[in-house]
C-alpha cells in the first residue's frame, strides 16, 4: 500500500508538471499580448516595454517557464497581472466557496442520479423508466447557462423561495447546488440503472427473493451495495466535468468561487490566475481519481491495488 501510494504520488506530480507545461505553452502562443492588456490603450511604447521587462515577459519561453516552476516549488503561483494580488491569496479566498458548492453539488447529483437510476432499474421497461431516461438525456445535454438562469428565474425571481444569487447562507447554496445536481444527475442515473439491472439479474438476488425477503429489502440491502460500486468510481472522474460546470453556475449565481475567478481571468488574459486555477483544478481531479481508486477496494475486496 505504501509503495502504491508513493508511485501514485510520483505519477501525480508528473501529470501536474505536464499540465503546467501544456497550459504555459498554450498561454504563451496566445496571440493576445498580456502586456497590452495591462498597459491599456493610452500607454506609450516605452511604458509597454517597461512593463514587459519588469514582468520578465521579454525573456525566452524556457526562462519564463523555469521561473514559474521555481516559484511553484516554493508554493508561489505568482501575482495577478490585473488584480495586482498574489494568485495564492485570490484562490485561497475563493476556495471555501467552491468546495462548499462542490460538496453540495455532488451530494445533489448523487441523490438525484442514484434515485432516478434505481427507480428506472426497478421499473424497467415501463413508462416511468422511459420518462426517467429521457429526463437524464435532457439534463445531460442541457446548456448549463440556460438551466442556471431558468432555475434562478423560476425559484428565486418568480416564486421568491430563494435569494437571487449571492453567497453566505444555506438558502443561497440551494439553487446553485441543485442546478449542478440536475445537470450532472444524468450520468449517474444511466450508470446506476444499467449497473442495477445487471445486479438484479444475478443469482444471489434470485436466491434472496426465493428466501422470501421483501422486495425493498432485496433492493436496498442486497442489490444496491453491489450496484453502486462502479458509480462510486465515477465520482473521481466526474470531478473534472464538474469543474467545468462550476465555472458557468458560479458565474450565473454570483457564487464567489474559483470557477468565477477563472472565467474573469480568461476574458482579461490574466495569465497567472489562469495558470493557478488550472493547476488547482488539475490537483483536484488527480486527487479525486486517487481517492476513487483508494475507496474501490474498501467497498469491493475483489479489487487489489498494485
Amino acid at each position: 500500500m505504501g509503495r502504491y501510494l508513493l508511485s501514485r504520488f510520483l505519477q501525480s506530480i508528473l501529470i501536474l508538471l505536464g499540465i503546467s507545461f501544456v497550459t504555459f505553452v498554450l498561454l504563451y502562443v496566445l496571440p493576445a499580448d498580456p502586456v497590452r492588456q495591462i498597459a491599456g490603450r493610452s500607454a506609450t511604447a516605452e511604458t509597454v516595454e517597461n512593463i514587459r521587462r519588469q514582468l520578465g515577459l521579454d525573456q525566452p519561453f524556457i526562462v519564463q517557464y523555469g521561473r514559474y516552476l521555481a516559484g511553484l516549488a516554493q508554493g508561489d503561483l505568482g501575482r495577478s497581472y490585473l488584480q495586482k494580488s498574489e494568485v495564492t491569496e485570490l484562490i485561497l479566498s475563493r476556495l471555501p466557496a467552491s468546495l462548499q458548492l462542490m460538496a453540495a453539488g455532488i451530494f445533489a447529483e448523487l441523490v438525484l442520479g442514484l434515485g432516478m437510476g434505481i427507480a428506472a432499474a426497478v421499473l424497467r421497461g415501463r413508462m416511468a423508466d422511459q420518462l426517467l431516461m429521457m429526463t437524464s438525456f435532457v439534463t445531460v445535454s442541457a446548456p448549463q447557462f440556460v438551466v442556471s438562469l431558468l432555475m434562478l428565474y423560476i425559484f428565486a425571481v418568480r416564486l421568491g423561495w430563494f435569494p437571487i444569487g449571492g453567497y453566505g447562507t444555506a438558502a443561497h447554496l440551494v439553487l446553485p447546488a441543485l442546478t449542478l445536481g440536475i445537470l450532472g444527475s444524468g450520468w449517474y442515473s444511466r450508470m446506476m440503472r444499467s449497473s442495477m439491472i445487471d445486479v438484479l439479474r444475478a443469482d444471489y438476488i434470485r436466491t434472496a427473493r426465493a428466501k422470501g425477503l421483501g422486495r425493498s429489502r432485496v433492493i436496498l440491502r442486497h442489490a444496491l451495495p453491489n450496484a453502486i460500486l462502479p458509480v462510486i468510481a465515477m465520482i473521481g472522474i466526474d470531478i473534472g466535468i464538474f469543474m467545468g460546470g462550476i465555472v458557468v453556475v458560479e458565474s450565473v449565481f454570483g457564487w464567489p468561487g474559483i470557477g468565477q475567478l477563472a472565467w474573469q481571468a480568461i476574458q482579461r488574459v490574466d495569465i497567472p490566475i489562469i495558470m493557478g486555477v488550472t493547476l488547482i483544478s488539475a490537483c483536484a481531479i488527480v486527487l479525486g481519481n486517487l481517492l476513487a481508486d483508494l475507496i474501490a477496494p474498501m467497498i469491493d475486496p475483489r479489487i487489489r491495488l498494485k
Binding site: G40, Q83, V252, Q260
Partner: protein, 537 residues
Amino acid sequence: MKRLLATTAVLIALAIPAMAQDYTPDPNAQAGGSITITYKDDVATLDPAIGYDWQNWSMIKSLFDGLMDYVPGTTTLRPGLAESYEIAEDGLTYTFHLRTGVKFHNGREMTADDVKYSLDRVTDPATQSPGAGFFGSIAGFEAAGSGGLSGVEVVDAATVKITLSRPDATFLHVMALNFASIVPKEAVDEAGADFGKKPVGTGAFKLAEWTLGQRLVFEKNADYWRAGVPYLDSVVFEVGQEPVVALLRLQNGEVDVPGDGIPPAKFQEVMADPAQAARVVQGGQLHTGYVTMNVNTPPFDKVEVRKAVNMAINKDRIVQIINGRAVPATQPLPPSMPGYTEGYAGYPFDVEGAKQLMADAGLADGVDTELYVMNTDPNPRIAQAIQQDLAAIGIRAEIKSLAQANVIEAGGAGTAPMIWSGGMAWIADFPDPSNFYGPILGCAGAGEGGWNWSKFCDEGLDKMAVDADSLSDPAKSADRLNLWSDTYMGVMEQAPWAPVFNEERYTMKSERMGGEDALYVDPVSIPVNYDYVWVKQ
C-alpha cells in the same frame, strides 16, 4: 501670492469664479442611506496610478482627489485639491495653491510634498502606471525614476510649481485624471504592492471593507473637505453578478444601479415597459464607433475609395441593429466633446455617388478586401451590414471575426485593411479633442503596435494638432477648439475613417435614487457620480 509674483516674471492671475463655474447643490438632496451597485467582474485595483478600466475609474474618483476635478455631470474643469492656480504667459509654468486643512483618510494633513510624491510615483517606471505617458509634457519626464520629476517643485507647504518642457493645453485635464490623484507616501510604503487593495486618499469615501470576489463597501468620509457631500453613508459594490441577474435583482428592489448597464438582450423589454423606462437615464458618451481603412493597403491607398466607403455605409440601419442605442456619426469627435464641428453633415449616404467615386478610382469592376471585427455580438452583425453596403458599390469584403486581442494585434501591425472598431472603439480619457487625435489619427499612433489602425499620418494635420495644444492660455480656448475643429475636418477630407455612430449611455436606477439626471450619465464617472447622488429615505 506676493512671493510668487516676485519669482515669476509675468503671471496671468486666473480669477476663478468659484461659484459661477461650480456645482449648485441639489436642494432636495437628503443625507444618509446606502446604495448597492453590481458588477460582473472583480474590481482590479483601487490604486489610482494603476487603475484604468471604466469600472474602477469612478470608484477611484470617489476615494481620491487630484489638483483638478470636473463639475459633477459635466465636462467643465474645476479646482480640486488646488484652491487656485496660475499659468505663466509662456504656458510652461503652472503654480497650484493647495487647499489647507485637507486630511487623508489616515488623518494626516495633505501638503505640497504629497503632490510631488504622487506625481513622482506615477511617472516612476517601477510603478508600471499605464497612464505615465499622460505626464510626458512635465519637465524631466524622460529622466523620471527614483530621482523624481525635476519639473515638479515644492515651493512651500501649500504651493506646488510645475514646469513643462512644452506648452500643453490639456495639462489641467491631465491633472484631473485619476493617475494624478494625491496619495500619502506613508500609506503607499506600508501597503507596498497591495496599495491597490488598501487605498488611502482624500476622497469623499473611504474603503471600509473588501471581501475578495464578493463585495466592497465604501463608507462616507465625515471629514471630507467639500462641504455637504457625499450624501450617502455608504456605497456597496457587489461583484460577480451577471448583468441579466443584476437586472432581475433591480426589478426585485435589491440593487440600485447595475454597473454593467442594461444587458443588450433585455434592452427592448425594459424600454417597452413605461415603469422601467422611466428609471433609465439616457445621455451622450465620449465614444465614436468607426471603420478604419488602412491607407497603405490597396484599394484604400486611394482617397476616392475611402470617400466611397463613407458614402456607402447606411448608418441609420446600423443604429437600428443595436436597437437605436446610438446616434449616427458625422465626424471623429462625438457630439458632446468640445471642438465638435456643429453643422457639418459628414458624407451623405449616396450609393450612386459612391459608385461614381469607385469608377473614378478605376475600380468600376469592384475589388476584394477584408473587414476585421471583434467576435462578440452585435459586432459581427454590424460587420455584415457594412459588408452588404460595400457590396452594393463593388467592394467585396470578407469578414474576419476574431477575438478582441487578435483584432487589436492585426490593427497595430497594419495587416488589417479594414476594421470595424466595435468593442474596441476609442472612449476619451478626458473631455478634450486632443485625446481623440494623437493615439488614433496622428502620426504618433501610426507605428507598429499603435492604435492608429488606418496608419494615417498627415504631417500638416499633426502640426495643426501641436499648434492647438500649444494654446494653453485659457483666454484662447475658443481659438484652440476652432483649430481642433479644423484638424478633424482635415481628417474627414482624407477620410481614413468612416465614422458610423456615437453610442449613447443608458443608466438604470432604482426608484429610490435621487439627484439630477446628469449625475447618472456623468461623462467622467461611469456609471454614476457616487459623491453627489442620494436616496429618498
